[in-house]
Symmetry: C2
Subunit: 230 residues, 2 copies
């Protein structure tokens, strides 16, 4: 059994990604971040899903992205609602968090060297996504190249870091279908950027809209608990 | 005046680097990290030097590298003493911190996007150094390439990130001479990995040995406050 680090928010994509890593024979080490996100409730989902899917370890790290600022996800800026899904990838929305995946992958790389693990999984997706630049294949490839020049275990030839992004070219419906085959209980996951009481989903932010569309297109009942007004 | 982010430990190299950024006409935004380092006293030096050199801003971020572990600088592992300087670059020592410069540069990139600043300075050096892989020019170049694919402001053409490493090919003596020309007061800086009471330097760790040699070769009185036993 080989170890892998899985970036893990407790959302639909990263939960599927963890299940995929496991199905490929890896011992998944789930890595989550408390970064001042308004939807910090996702970390409760992350704990539930890590246990449900049998992660070998689950580490939650504090990262000061809220101190740095510049995002609707960490500041008192309204999260956009009811946007047209067809236009999502045309502009990068205010929910973009500066250098978030760079920071998350950098910490994953540090943990990978210590575990050790030479495989890092990230659930980014360039199909049904919000247009974030750090979800694109060219970013992932450039990070992988840098990573192998950065750490002792790689430079001395004991680890060859690979960044796996198995969801990159799948639409949301396919992600859901593959996850269901692997036994993911999506009722345990959390995707909403602007949750209400008890972590109920708003149903109207980009993340909720993409998720809803995925269940609809997959022809699968949506297990998400929405706010009662929805 | 252009903004720059300067990775800034309060040590000899990064203090010189900040002075260089200023001399080039940048408004230096100093960025320091509290990461569980045993020499956390360096942050007091960082505050003093940032004020002394007139940094436009100074941000100290908490980063969970101690939680991840794997280094003598963040764990109860002895810091090596009295090593032969000639052999320092031959092997990567236990003071190496997994992916440290990757994590620091990732957070610098996030701050750069918010400030905004398109220039990031890092005081790494591949001459008189401890053999850390993330101090080499190929690492810096790969990070810069990745950075321009990672952030919104770069991808949308408003920023072109450049990572400056002006000390890369200088020996310690030259770094000191250039810093003195720019008015750096090295008596305010801190380099020791294993300081004693009042932040006094041990005089025997790799960082102290490299610093001592630099002052000797530059023919400059060493202003460092060493432990009395030295």
């Amino acid at each position: 059994m080989k170890n892998a680090i899985v970036l893990f928010s407790g959302g639909l994509d990263s939960s599927t990604c963890l299940a995929i890593a496991k199905s490929l024979g890896y011992r998944p080490h789930a890595l989550s971040f408390r970064y001042g996100q308004r939807h910090e409730v996702e970390l409760e989902a992350a704990r539930r899903v890590a246990e449900h899917l049998g992660a070998a370890a689950h580490l939650i790290l504090d990262v000061p992205l809220k101190t740095i600022g510049g995002s609707a996800l960490t500041a008192a800026i309204d999260v956009p609602k009811d946007r047209d899904l067809a236009s999502l990838a045309d502009e990068i929305p205010v929910t973009y968090v500066p250098a978030r995946n760079t920071v998350f992958l950098a910490l994953a790389l540090a943990w990978a060297e210590v575990v050790p693990a030479q495989d890092i999984f990230i659930g980014v997706n360039a199909m049904d996504y919000s247009g974030y630049p750090d979800c694109r294949p060219e970013f992932v490839a450039a990070f992988e190249n840098m990573a192998n020049l950065a750490i002792k275990e790689a430079v001395e030839g004991r680890l060859k870091i690979t960044i796996h992004a198995p969801l990159m070219h799948w639409d949301k419906a396919r992600i859901i279908r593959e996850g269901l085959k692997l036994g993911v209980d999506y009722g345990l996951t959390h995707s909403c950027y602007d949750p209400g009481e008890g972590g109920r989903a708003c149903g109207r932010c980009d993340s909720c809209l993409l998720r809803k569309k995925g269940f609809a297109q997959a022809g699968v009942a949506d297990p998400t608990r929405y706010k009662s007004s929805e």
